[in-house]
Amino acid sequence: MLEITTTRHNHLIDPILHAWNWEIPVYLFLGGLVAGMMIISGYFLFKERVKEDNCSCFYLPMISFVLLSLGMSALFLDLEHKLFVWRLYTTFQITSPMSWGAWILILVYPALIANILIRPPKFIANKIPKLAEVSQKLIEHKWAVKNIGVVNMLLGGMVGMYTGILLSSLGARPLWSTSVLWLLFLISGLSGAAAFVHLIAKNVYERELLAKSDNAFLIIELFVIAMMIIGLVTSSKSHMAAAHLLLNGPFASVFWIFVIALGIVIPLYIQLLAVNHKIKHTPIAPIMVIIGGLILRFVIVAAGQHSHWF
């Protein structure tokens, strides 16, 4: 028998740590989605798909810009000392993933703007006629477009990885201290972005391509989740207990039903039928994938805070 009593009842810390609420999972989800979109639109630029009039690379950067700003706002809402937020940019802390993230995001905005400038949305172009000239010049220079694509892919990759590394650097939470979390969040971000583009793409080729890629991402994601769980259950007692939070503990029903079944396996099955022309493409599958990605972030953040060393 082991019985513990404590006189500590600090708000947000006891009895179970919940210092991070909805804002952080939303920030991580939107960050991952934007990362995936940057990779996809960067790839299309690199592949010179700007020749296609309805290439999704023309509107993805604007959507990414808005979603990233929403994600940053969620992060800002989470800060307890909001007036001091500028302190992030008076220093660079090499050991702190959050500091890396803050500086990477500063680079992401110019990369997205460069991407937007290739073909600015009409409501902006109408107001600033000069942009049409910039856009024309960019399109004339293939290397410029290709390089914008490469930079977007690289930065997208960094943002996607960062969303996982942010958590896995916090070794006090055994569920997060796994070396594959960056890969899980990167792949999940790519899969969510592929689903999103699949949903809204006007170009048939792109829609088909992204449905197929999404299937690949979902299969890899299942594999990475399996790797993560195997890594945890074969590690220390604290890590094992952390894995059981997801496998058969308080988070198991959400994890198995909403993340694994409704977020990955069922949409994967529907999309496999669709790409093999057994059924028509349906928006239901990509919507399930996107919601599954959001719930994945919620489950990982909440269960991670539940997990602790003992």
């Binding site: 028998m1 082991l2 019985e3 513990i4 009593t5 404590t6 006189t7 500590r8 009842h9 600090n10 708000h11 947000l12 810390i13 006891d14 740590l17 210092a19 991070w20 989470d78 800060l79 307890e80 000392h81 909001k82 001091f84 937020v85 302190r87 992030l88 008076t90 220093t91 802390q93 050991t95 702190s96 993933p97 959050m98 500091s99 993230g101 803050a102 942010l166 650097s169 916090l170 070794g171 006090a172 939470r173 220390s236 805070q305 602790h308 060393w309 003992f310």
Partner: protein, 179 residues
């Protein structure tokens, strides 16, 4: 370089919570929060039951994850004895340090910055013991420099069996409990 820490004798501690109250008074800890606290662990069954009482606080770890994860440098090692402190004007309240501390030693102060035990650095700078150490009625707490082999704390560690909290978390805590 000094390395400040504490040695606490669990055989003498009676769990009176004087250290908790002394800290609240000395440091104006807001109502409902605690920079130090008492943990009572009961093990086994009567007649072989054992009780260990621990006065806990920030361990002023030498490999403090709260310092490495802080994006602004607000969490830092003080020049004197490696005490881990939070600079209130640099803290943005992102709570990464709270998430990274395996001991739950930090909390968000109602004014927005993150707060925790400072080893009463304002007293230590004047050559005094932290408030909790100085009020303990059983004299079970000792504060000093582990880098000085002749300090009281170093000698206690040499002469008595001891353990620290969650050493496997890799933080190199600087509070030891004599058993």
């Amino acid at each position: 370089m000094a390395r400040f820490g504490m040695v606490i004798d669990t055989r003498k501690c009676v769990g009176c919570t004087d250290c908790v109250i002394a800290c609240e008074t000395e440091n104006d800890v807001p109502n409902g929060f605690a920079r130090d606290w008492i943990v009572q662990i009961s093990n086994g069954k009567f007649p072989n039951a054992q009780v260990e009482i621990l006065s806990e606080r920030c361990n002023h770890c030498s490999d403090a994850p709260c310092v490495t994860t802080c994006p602004t440098g607000a969490s830092h090692y003080h020049d004197i004895g490696g005490i881990v402190l939070v600079n209130h004007d640099e803290c943005i309240g992102c709570k990464a340090c709270i998430e990274s501390c395996p001991y739950g030693a930090r909390f968000v102060h109602p004014e927005g910055y993150v707060d925790k035990c400072t080893f009463c650095v304002h007293r230590v700078e004047e050559g005094l013991d932290p408030a909790c150490v100085s009020v303990c009625p059983t004299h079970c707490m000792h504060f000093g420099d582990f880098d000085d082999p002749n300090s009281e704390v170093s000698k206690l560690l040499q002469s008595r069996k001891h353990h620290s909290l969650l050493p496997e978390a890799g933080t190199t805590p600087n509070i030891y409990y004599l058993t």
